[in-house]
Amino acid sequence: MTRRKIFQSVLQYAGLIGVLAFLVLTFSLSTENFFQTQTLVTIANSNPDLIFISVGMTLVLIVGGIDLSVGSLLALGSAVIGVLMVRHQWPVYAAVPVCCLVTAACGLLNGFLSVWFAIPSFIVTLGMLEMARGATKVVTDSQTMYIGSRVEGFGEPISVVSLSPAFLVALGVVILGQFLLTQTVFGRYCVAIGTNREAVRMSGIRTKPVIITAFAISGFLCGLASLSQTSRLSSADPNAAIGLELSAIAACVIGGTSLMGGRGSVVASFFGVLIIAVLQSGLAQLGVEDAIKQIVTGGVIILAVLFDAVRQKFGKVN
């Protein structure tokens, strides 16, 4: 990477890092104990699920799709883990692959249906949102399953770095995702398809497998998100992650990913997740009214996007 490129990428994330720094500063000044390692580590360790999902969501948004089923897939995955481990006494290393297989298969189906029959992915994944949630309730009998310490390893902080394996794996997935997007043929195709699918098809590239792969990756990452949430809470909750798709979309959009496709960055979405997470924890630490929390959260989402839009415009003028 040349010096200019490094400078460019710093500039690209400067806005997001600025917002994040502003939030951390605000909360540090307004609460007693926000700015300390323990708090920041706790925030990191509570959010790998949203990180996994936002990485998948970024890919799907870039190819010009949307995946509304992620919250339900997370719940379904964690139900699979819960049922296999509690009712059938499976060990965690056997239950997790099944979980990821199930969610990846659902993602694959999402992609296949929307691409092959040319149905907007909004509708297909909306259907999947309902079906996966229903399946979750059937699998668990609508009961919260308490798994206990057998599943906790992945979410438990490692003593040396005090970060959980879940967070470290999520970081790895962010780096891998960014690499996939910017350094591989697949990534280039994703961006190209999101920009102008017809043109890509005309130039002799098969677009369908690429889009389907993006959805399958999103589904697979939902499985990892299930594992990290289940291990953090030691239980599988059939009502888990209702509305999480909106948080994930918000994180991506805060990071500058376009809902129209063709533009986006995995690392930027990661910063988007951090902004949402810091906001959530900081507001809880302040202990403000619920209604105020909602107003502030919504406001920050809009401000962050506004900030990005202004920067884009400014950048173009130059």
């Binding site: 609460t31 007693e32 104990n33 926000f34 300390q36 323990q38 708090t39 706790t42 925030i43 360790n45 509570s46 949630r133 309730k137 009998d141 609508s142 009961q143 919260t144 399953m145 308490y146 206990g148 906790e152 979410g155 438990e156 902080p157 949430q229 953090r232 809470l233 030691s234 239980s235 909750d237 059939p238 009502n239 888990a240 992650a241 209702i242 959530q280 924890s281 900081g282 809880a284 630490q285 202990g287 619920d290």
Partner: protein, 326 residues
């Protein structure tokens, strides 16, 4: 669009069901049948508490199948008020004799329940008490069959207080602020803590949800590292708090209490991760309501009084006792 289709389909389904058993002419049909028809309208059946309640009602119905017919309906999301109002109207149209309802909102359902009553349908309120002022304003009396949540929460709080000293600090995870149960449980917790001279340093709503409770409890622990206990207004939130306490490395010195006695929390109580919860016999709540409704159908002149159902404290000791009894 989706809900539009559901609305279209529902009356069709209902008349379909009715025509199988008897003539599909609404209110008249029920009179012709020798068995009264009872509609049970629940909150979200995805919530374990309500699905247990529905299971209890179904097994009671199976045992007494010759006495009454039962239709169970729930809404998808606990906050989907308009759907629940729609269900009440649907049930009225289907010609049921009684509606037993766990209202999603203590105020908004009163008008449609009043209309049901005006059509001669017996209405019994379970789980979440309808607002007294609104009932009075609408000039309607609906009996409430259910537990005293405030007294239950007070029991849990009192038990926790025996493990705390005066001046200790605690935090509360509240339910959804607008729900009557949530308010009652909060009141009970606060009352118990006040009596014990314990200081509530933070009290925030986690909207009954495990993951949200986890985030909020973690923040509470960061901001107030000196708290000695977390009181959660339901067990899902208590489970979320366990994880937060563990992440903060405070499992040994922070006490957690919950409410509802769901099966997942029993394991946590046995392991000592949760100190206590309250059992309001969720599986029997709907049954109590149905029995009251059947009495009122049989004897319409009877005055509709509130019925208070039991709430008991559940601790490791009480679980061990009931375990040995089995």
């Amino acid at each position: 669009m989706r809900s539009f289709f559901c609305l279209l389909a529902l009356p069709l389904l209902l008349t379909g069901c009715a025509s199988k058993s008897e003539t599909p002419t609404g209110g008249q049909a029920a009179l012709e049948s020798d068995r009264p028809k009872v509609a049970l309208i629940m909150k979200s059946l995805a919530n374990e508490f309500f699905s247990t309640m529905a299971d209890g009602a179904n097994s009671h119905h199976q045992e007494h199948a010759e006495q009454y017919d039962l239709i169970v309906n729930g809404i998808k999301d606990e906050r989907d008020l308009s759907r629940q109002v729609g269900l009440v109207d649907d049930m009225v149209a289907a010609g049921v004799d009684a509606i037993v309802i766990a209202p999603a909102d203590s105020k908004a359902l009163v008008p449609s329940l009043r209309k049901a009553k005006e059509k001669g349908i017996v209405v019994v309120n379970i789980d979440n008490r309808l607002d007294r002022d609104v009932l009075q304003e609408e000039n309607v009396s609906i009996p409430f069959v259910g537990p005293d949540n405030q007294a239950g929460a007070k029991k849990v709080g009192d038990f926790l207080a025996t493990r705390l000293k005066e001046g200790d600090k605690v935090a509360i995870l509240e339910g959804i602020r607008t729900s009557f149960n949530g308010q009652q449980r909060l009141a009970g917790f606060n009352q118990a803590m006040e009596q014990a001279g314990v200081d509530v340093v933070s009290s925030q709503s986690a909207e009954w949800e495990m993951s949200k409770a986890n985030t909020i409890a973690a923040s509470m622990l960061s901001e107030h590292p000196d708290i000695k206990a977390i009181l959660a207004a339901n067990d899902s939130m208590a489970l979320g708090a366990i994880a937060a306490v563990k992440a903060a490395g405070r499992s040994d010195d922070i006490l957690i209490v919950g409410f509802d006695n769901i099966s997942a929390v029993q394991a946590a109580i046995r392991e000592g991760k949760v100190l206590a919860t309250a059992d309001q016999y969720g599986d029997q709540l709907a049954v109590f309501g149905i029995e009251t409704a059947l009495q009122l159908i049989e004897d319409p002149s009877a005055t509709a009084d509130d019925v208070e159902t039991p709430v008991d404290l559940v601790t490791a000791e009480s679980l061990a006792e009931s375990g040995t009894q089995e």
